[in-house]
Structures are given as C-alpha cells and as structure tokens.
Symmetry: C2
Subunit: 227 residues, 2 copies
C-alpha cells in the first residue's frame, strides 16, 4: 500500500520505519524537502537529524506535503498539533481528495512552558477543525493517545492487552483503519468512540496522559478499558 | 470517623450510604436542610427525592454545609461541579479549617446541552480553584473519574483490578486518603499524579470518559493503567 505521512518528527519517523519494514511504500511529506535534508540538528524530541534518520531508512521517500498526499492510499497526519493545519493546507484539498486521513496529532502548545496546554479544547478540537477545513477527507482520529513506539508495537506493553481509541464520521473509513492497524500493528482492543466530535475527549486526555507518564516514569504505558 | 459530605445528589447519597454502612458517622451538608427535606421530586440524575432516600438511610444526618464540615474528620466535596464553589463558600473557611477535603467533583456544564462541556479547563481546574480559595484545606482530588457506584465498590468491575487517580499538594493528606479509600472501599491500584495542578488532567478526562460510557453502554467501567 502507498502511505503518505505528514511530519518528519518522532511520530512520523516511527510510523514510517514500521510501515516500510512491513513492505509498504512510504512517503514522508514535509514543507520543503531540501530544507529538511539540509538540517544538521535534530528537532526535539527527535534525537537524530532527519537526514541521518533518512540515511538509515533508505526505502522511505521524502517529498512535499502535496506529493506525499497525492501518491497515497492512506494519509497519516503525524505533525505536531501546532503545525497540523498549515501542513494540511500546504498539502491542499486537491491532493488530499477524499482519502482516509488518520489523524494521530495532538494540539499541544509548548510555547508557555511545561506542562503543555492545548491550543483548542472543550467546545472544539483539532480533529474537528481538520474535518471542517477538509470536508471531503475521511478523517479517522486514532493513535494519538499512546507514545510513538507503542503505536506501532502494542505488544511491548502488557502483551498488547490495552485499549486504543478511534473516532470519525465515516463508518467505512473507521472499519478500514481498525482492520489496518489491527492487522498491521497488532492492536486487538480498538474502541470506536463515535463521530469526529469525540476528538475533544481524545485530545483532552493528553493532560492526564502526561501526568501518568510522570508517575510511571516512562511513556511506554497505556490504559485498558475494563468493565 | 466523622465524615461530612457536601452535596445531596447521587454521589453524596452513594458515598453516604456506603460509609454509614461501614459504621462511620456521616453528615450530609446542604444549603438549606429544611428546603432539601421539603423537596418532593428527585433532582436528576438522582432517582428518588432526597427525603425518601433519607427515610431509607436514617443513620445519615442532614445539616447545613457549615455544620457538616465543622463536625467532620474528613470532608468530601460531592457537589455537582457547577455548585462546588458556592457550597464551599457557604460552608466557610472557618468550618473547613485545615481538614482533608476529598474533591470528587467535576466542573461539568450541562447548560449548553449534551454532551456537557467543562466550566474550567486547560490552564486551570476546579480542584486548583478550590485549593486557592481555601488555602488551609488539604485538598485531595480523587474518585472523580468513576461513576458513584464504582467509587464505593471497585470490586464490581474486573474484580477490582483498575486504576484510581489522586492528586494534591499535601503528601500526608494523600497518604491518609489513599489508605482510607483503599481499606474502606477496596481500591488497590491508586496512582498519585502529583500536585493539585494534576486536577486539570483528572477533570479533562471527563469528555473521553463520557464517550467511553456511550460506547460501553453503562457507566460501570474504568481504565487500568498497564505498563
């Protein structure tokens, strides 16, 4: 499958490496590929400069946001939340078309120090803003409630027995994504929280997730819904 | 132990009944006890009028907010979040003193329809507002992330194997509350999320909790942190 990943950070790199390893044709989108390749230092929390990562992952292509979206069967928004909308605008509604867009981003605002706040919450969400700005896209919000290494390897925690949330307006797109990340990464417990407005809850979960990280001392954890 | 519970709703009733059954001397605080006893109908989501509940739970006392606080070893804020601050102001800083105040409330705003939004979030929280308004009180935020019946009976779900969160500025008060709800109700997995600012995350968890309720079809569920 052709997969376009928007964002060259830790989430984009982790998803790209895992998907390429499984034989998918992965293209990472960035604003200016030449500028990204020229960058000599890592953008935290990434630990290596993109070009060094690229050298270690030669099967992954780097392209503009628009080209990454246009060639893809599925697009994944793996940008930092603060730059999500401008990345998608740079890709453009034509390139995005009516593709499935997996939105794994969180609208975290680190500009006011730690812990980060959210740029949007309570009566709106980034997921909803993206769906509204690109109404043809079939947005499925998921993966945003776990750390990148766990997104692609749920078995690393509690033998994979924990819960991933998912929401969106398009039932077919949700079923496809559920099957795809289930088979692709090994997620067994994926809970559909409803339409795209559930993005509010999924994004507002971040502050308690960050506190759990602090209490646990590692981001390699998740929650399991029990009833 | 003498326990003062602020709030005559479902949470207050459920906590009061469970604690009275365990032999504690429980006083429920309300703004105007005569008015509360005169009310003929239930305030939703309560199913029975307070006076009918009171008749079935004769060992529980009803008093003003101030009297309920003054006679208590531990005070529990079980009001709806929207009325929490006015209930505590009605109790007064003198009556509250330096008591442990378990804050089980959530700042839910139902006035704009369903699903409710939060009256405060992101850069502040109800827990912080209460601690700031009553600086002598030793506030411990907990119990607010599960439904009332589960607060007092965690064993009803997954044999009690799931996580309760807790935060606050006073380490001794947190240790006391942890031991007290552990021994009293059977909570085994209580995670300390840090100082009172963790109330933000614990309250902002409500929107995803409400969506989980919708997906599960019952509020008798919780999450278990797995690592």
């Amino acid at each position: 499958m052709n997969i376009g990943i928007l964002g060259t950070g830790v989430v984009g790199q982790t998803l790209a490496a895992a998907l390429a390893e499984k034989g998918h044709a992965v293209t990472i989108g960035t604003r200016d590929p030449a500028e990204t390749m020229a960058r000599e230092t890592a953008k935290p929390p990434a630990r290596v400069a993109y070009r060094d990562w690229q050298r270690a992952n030669p099967s992954v292509q780097l392209a503009t946001f628009a080209d990454a979206a246009r060639s893809a069967d599925v697009v994944i928004n793996a940008t930092s939340g603060a730059s999500a909308m401008s990345a998608l605008e740079s890709a453009g509604a034509n390139a995005l078309g009516d593709r499935i867009l997996i939105d794994a981003s969180n609208p975290l605002d680190f500009s006011k120090g730690m812990p980060p706040t959210l740029t949007v919450c309570n009566t709106d969400s980034l997921g909803e803003q993206i769906q509204k700005a690109f109404p043809r896209v079939r947005l499925v919000k998921t993966l945003n409630t776990v750390t990148a290494n766990l997104m692609v390897n749920p078995g690393a925690v509690n033998e994979g027995d924990h819960t991933l949330f998912l929401c969106g307006n398009d039932a077919d797109a949700k079923a496809t994504v559920k099957r795809w990340i289930g088979e692709g990464f090994g997620w067994r417990d994926i809970l559909d929280l409803g339409d795209v407005t559930a993005s509010r809850g999924m994004e507002m979960y971040l502050p308690i997730w960050l506190r759990m990280w602090g209490a646990v001392g590692s981001p390699m954890f998740n929650v399991k819904l029990v009833r």
